[in-house]
Assembly symmetry: C2
Homo-oligomer: 150 residues x 2
């Protein structure tokens, strides 16, 4: 377990990794049945007739798995990983059954928060990669980090 | 059920609604345990000590519920709702247990796709609202829609 960081512990260019998750076919279908019930996420045969041509995970499933990897990964902030939003979110490659995902994070920018005194804002690029290092999701998010009380 | 639309059926300024979903406390905790295991999503007491001050849903849970509302809502595209990504994603208000969510979608821009011949790109703003019409998530996404074969 890494030590949770304060705003002052962060620096532009820092990078952090995560563990990995294996995306099993049933995980894709269970998530899709609850949150994104479209044929190309639910059924291999139906997926062949779709734009994807094969079963793929919902992009929101990839997003959720990315969050799990982050929360259990190297990049820890005091008070938790709390995102205000993303200015970019892309799914360049689809996620297929059997893929193994991990996330690489890089600190892009640090600035004090105007609306949350005692906190700073951390702009981070999170790149979710498959086993062939193809990016399956890229987000640029802004997170909030408490400042060290001096 | 609405009729699925082709690219040519869409126009800037069109709006679409969805049904609603009640966010039960257990749903928040089950999602968080799997995808975003942080105290403020898992436990009411721990949440009191957090930046949120109370139990809130993971933003990625809100995103997943938004997708379900969209897939089962008025806005249907031939071939499915397939997003390439988002240029904006914000969570202006937190989602609490007992909230009732719905989504309003507005078509912002239409343009032909260069990389997917026979398709067009549809830029849509999806606003997820709670029972007090407070926005809990705003995304501006680009989706792909097939062109009518003439």
């Amino acid at each position: 377990m890494s030590t949770p960081l304060y705003y002052e512990d962060l620096a532009v260019g820092q990078t952090f990794g995560t563990g990995t998750v294996l995306v099993e076919p049933d995980m894709i279908k269970v998530f899709a049945a609850e949150f994104d019930p479209q044929p190309f996420h639910l059924d291999q045969d139906a997926a062949r007739a779709s734009l994807f041509g094969e079963l793929v995970a919902s992009g929101w499933h990839t997003a959720a798995l990315t969050m799990r990897l982050l929360v259990t990964g190297e990049f820890r902030i005091v008070g938790g990983l709390i995102g205000l939003g993303a200015e970019e979110l892309r799914w360049p490659w689809p996620v297929h059954p059997g893929d193994v995902l991990r996330v690489e994070s890089e600190v892009m920018e640090l600035r004090p928060s105007k609306s949350h005194p005692g906190h700073g804002l951390v702009r981070v690029r999170n790149t979710t990669l498959n086993q062939d290092s193809e990016p399956v999701m890229i987000t640029v998010v802004t997170m909030i980090a408490p400042r060290r009380v001096s």
